[in-house]
């Protein structure tokens, strides 16, 4: 007999505009079947009375399994430092799903992560969105690109282009122009096949967006300008100085991955990093989701980022959205994940308090209705 799970009681933050109390969430075949008042017969009950219930958390910018934890250089697979333009690389091919990062993610309530190549290359490669159990949700989820300090630092050391911001922008533009040429040529020559241009062609077909690493406001604007020239959908990754150009982001309707907002500012381009950016985005109507850039900060920093932003006047509602449904929207996966709603995947977490409090613990993490983490005392914390 197939198993039906019912989560009983508690305060349910559905992220569908409603906060429900003392209901029963019925899960069948890995999906949320219904939210009702009474426990049906023949079900496995998880008692959540007095607890808090949220959709599983989503981090849309990570390198989980690409930069593996605790094994040193052998596990650093995030940057192909040999060529600044590598759209044909696929993050999926570099992920070790046995990396402890995935265990830490589940233990800290993160049920979906978008995993992308690093930011050494102007065009780094294809990202992939996965459940933290390893199930692939979306591949590719976008083309990772990068502006600012990282590519120019890496390739300046190799005495190659790009060694300036102009160089990075030029290489980005050049690759896109070449792709346009390729698409035209391909109409006449059906044997033409180039992995790099094939990957970039998806951008022109609107299959997935460019996800562009940009910290400083000038890099953010450059990214949007270049993508605008080619009519390509853009998402700004990090967007550290986004508060300085929030009107522009809002007017252009560009979503942002914001963060990490609680990290070092050793790089010059991070000088104006502040948790206040979230509040400015809220005021200006910029769609954003927090990110840890894991393992740049630990994955439990997602909860902490939302918590810290409250001190900088972000509303509780937006803080919660920015670790759940907003990430799903920016990934284009909001039909499946990001809220507690009939028909959606049963990715649900149960906590011992308000998740926006820094001391709140995750008691259960469910993915597709299966319990993938259960709190059993402080020893079971992965933080």
């Amino acid at each position: 007999m197939e198993r039906i799970i019912a989560i009983k009681g508690g305060t349910v933050y559905t992220m569908e505009g409603k906060v429900l109390k003392d209901k029963v969430i019925v899960i069948k075949d890995g999906k949320i079947k219904e939210i009702i008042n009474n426990i049906p017969e023949n079900v496995t009950v998880i008692d959540a009375q007095g607890k808090f219930i949220y959709p599983g958390l989503i981090d849309i910018h990570t390198h989980a399994g690409l930069w593996e934890e605790g094994i040193g250089r052998e596990g650093y697979d995030g940057n192909e430092y040999t060529d600044p333009v590598t759209p044909h690389l696929r993050a999926l091919d570099g992920i070790n799903f046995l990396d402890r990062g995935f265990e830490e993610a589940k233990a800290n309530g993160i049920t979906t992560v978008n995993i992308m190549p690093g930011s050494a290359n102007v065009i780094g490669g294809q990202g992939v969105a996965v459940k933290t159990t390893g199930e692939i949700l979306l591949n590719p989820s976008g083309i990772k690109m990068a502006l600012g300090e990282n590519p120019r630092r890496v390739y300046r050391a190799q005495n190659r282009m790009p060694s300036t911001r102009m160089g990075s922008a030029f290489l980005m533009r050049k690759a896109l122009i070449e792709t346009q040429n390729y698409i035209k040529k391909k109409e006449k020559d059906k044997y033409l096949f180039d992995l790099k241009y094939e990957a970039l062609s998806g951008l022109f077909e609107g299959k997935y967006p460019a996800r562009i690493h940009a910290h400083r406001q000038d890099d953010i604007v450059t990214a949007i300008r270049i993508m605008g020239e080619f009519n390509i959908k853009a998402v700004i990754e990090h967007s550290t100085e986004g508060h300085l150009v929030a009107d522009f982001l809002s007017k252009k309707g560009i979503p942002c991955a914001l963060g990490p907002i609680i990290t070092t500012r050793v790089k010059q381009e991070l000088k104006f990093r502040t948790p206040e950016t979230a509040k400015v985005y809220e005021e200006k109507g910029v769609l954003f989701a927090f990110t840890t850039d894991y393992p740049v900060i630990p994955i439990y920093g997602l909860q902490l980022s939302a918590s810290i932003a409250l001190q900088y006047s972000l509303s509780r509602e937006t803080a919660l959205k920015a670790i759940t449904i907003n990430g799903a929207k920016i990934l284009g996966l909001d039909k499946r994940i990001g809220s507690i709603k009939e028909g959606k995947d049963a990715d649900i977490i149960i906590t011992d308090g308000d998740i926006l409090e820094p001391v709140t613990k995750i008691l259960y993490t469910l993915i597709n209705g299966e319990i993938v983490y259960e709190y059993k005392g402080p020893e079971s914390l992965l933080m």
Binding site: W67, G72, R265, I308, Q311, P358, T360, P378, L381, M383
Partner: protein, 380 residues
């Protein structure tokens, strides 16, 4: 005279919490804490609806030395041209305009220790400073406050890459013994000949004469054991810094009663050296009776998140008061200024924060930060 009318006062001495009391400040000191109506004063701060506690102390940072937001050229903590540089002084490299100091003021962090990084086995001398001042002279509370030393991956890998000594753990401890022996010989020679003053040797003598502790960067168990051997051989005072695997060797730390500065938590991904990194370490050490302070290791974690270091330690099972002491009274003790700083008691320096709510609450904001009697931050 200033008076703070405190609703809830966490004194950070013996878990004492007082309700509805007046903190009376004269000049830079707390002269009295008492109930009843407030006395006449130049300024009365009404915090009857709020939490009042000592401002925060960060027991391990590189603030001002590794300047933030200025790029790698200003990352000035590692004189990585020689693995042993005891004569370097952190105070010579502190930039008072570092954005970290402004953040510290806004977040209620009054005092921290700062100085050299961990590329060198013997890094240099550290200073305990206020987080406000236009010159280093105004900022210094105590210096030298310790001699930074470093074990494990950081010095070992750094010098290995340069194909220089020391590139192994054996090399690291051999180098320390060599320098301590040199310093002992230097002391003997100096008794007869005053013409050979050597700043490197003088710095080492401060440690050998137990005038300052060696503050030792260490992650792994085997290095902690080596440090204990050296401590026995040279009879020196030490603190363990980071202590990533401290929870795996806790009994030995307890036996020796070594102060530990643990953290930082929510730091970047784990190397082999930090593969057992967990926020549990502080809880486990503290539970067994080890004196524990926490750190941001600023700029590794920005200094204004010191309060979150304590919140995470509490979440991971550390006693609530111990976690708060680790960023107030115990931190002040471990950096060597506990006689004057770190609690709210008569005679102590008036380093105080007023918080809108309990210190671990997400929405708790710093309403006032008072540093040695002066308001250095007030929420607008």
């Amino acid at each position: 005279m200033k008076v703070i009318r405190a609703g809830t006062l966490l004194t950070m001495r013996n878990n004492k919490v007082l309700e509805d009391v007046n903190i009376i400040i004269e000049g830079d000191k707390i002269i009295e804490v008492k109930g009843g109506p407030p006395p006449d004063a130049d300024e009365v701060i009404d915090a009857r609806d709020h939490y009042v506690m000592p401002s925060f102390y960060d027991a391990h940072t590189h603030i001002g030395v590794a300047e933030e937001g200025a790029g790698f050229d200003y990352y000035d903590i590692n004189e990585a041209t020689d693995p042993s540089t005891p004569g370097l002084q952190g105070k010579d490299a502190i930039y008072p305009g570092d954005i970290g100091f402004k953040d510290a003021q806004a977040a209620g962090v009054s005092v921290c220790i700062t100085g050299p990084g961990s590329s060198n086995v013997i890094g240099g001398l550290q200073a305990v400073i206020r987080t406000k001042g236009n010159t280093v002279e105004e900022m210094i509370i105590k210096e030298p406050a310790g001699l930074k030393m470093s074990f494990g991956r950081n010095p070992q890998f750094y010098w290995r890459e340069q194909k220089k000594f020391p590139s192994t753990r054996m090399g690291v401890s051999a180098l320390i013994r060599e320098y301590f022996e040199k310093a002992r010989n230097y002391r003997k020679k100096k008794e007869k000949d005053k013409t050979g003053v050597d700043p490197n040797m003088e710095a080492l003598l401060l440690v050998l004469d137990r005038k300052i502790p060696a503050r030792i960067h260490v992650a792994n168990m085997e290095d902690i054991s080596t440090i204990f051997e050296l401590q026995d051989e040279y009879n020196i005072d030490i603190t363990l810094e980071h202590v990533t695997e401290g929870h795996l060797i806790v009994d030995e730390i307890v036996k020796r009663d070594i102060p530990c500065v643990v953290g930082p938590f929510f730091v970047a991904g784990k190397s082999i050296q930090t593969r057992f990194l967990t926020a549990r370490t502080a809880a486990i050490l503290s539970e067994k009776g080890v004196r524990v302070a926490l750190m941001t290791d600023h700029p590794a974690i920005p200094i204004h998140f010191i309060r979150h270091q304590a919140a995470l330690a509490y979440k991971a099972g550390m006693d609530k008061f111990k976690a708060l002491e680790a960023i107030t009274s115990q931190a002040a003790e471990i950096i060597g200024i506990g006689d004057q700083y770190g609690t709210i008691e008569e005679g102590k320096k008036a380093n105080i924060v007023i918080l809108s709510d309990g210190p671990f609450k997400a929405s708790s904001r710093v309403l006032y930060h008072i540093m040695e009697g002066e308001i250095v931050w007030k929420e607008s």
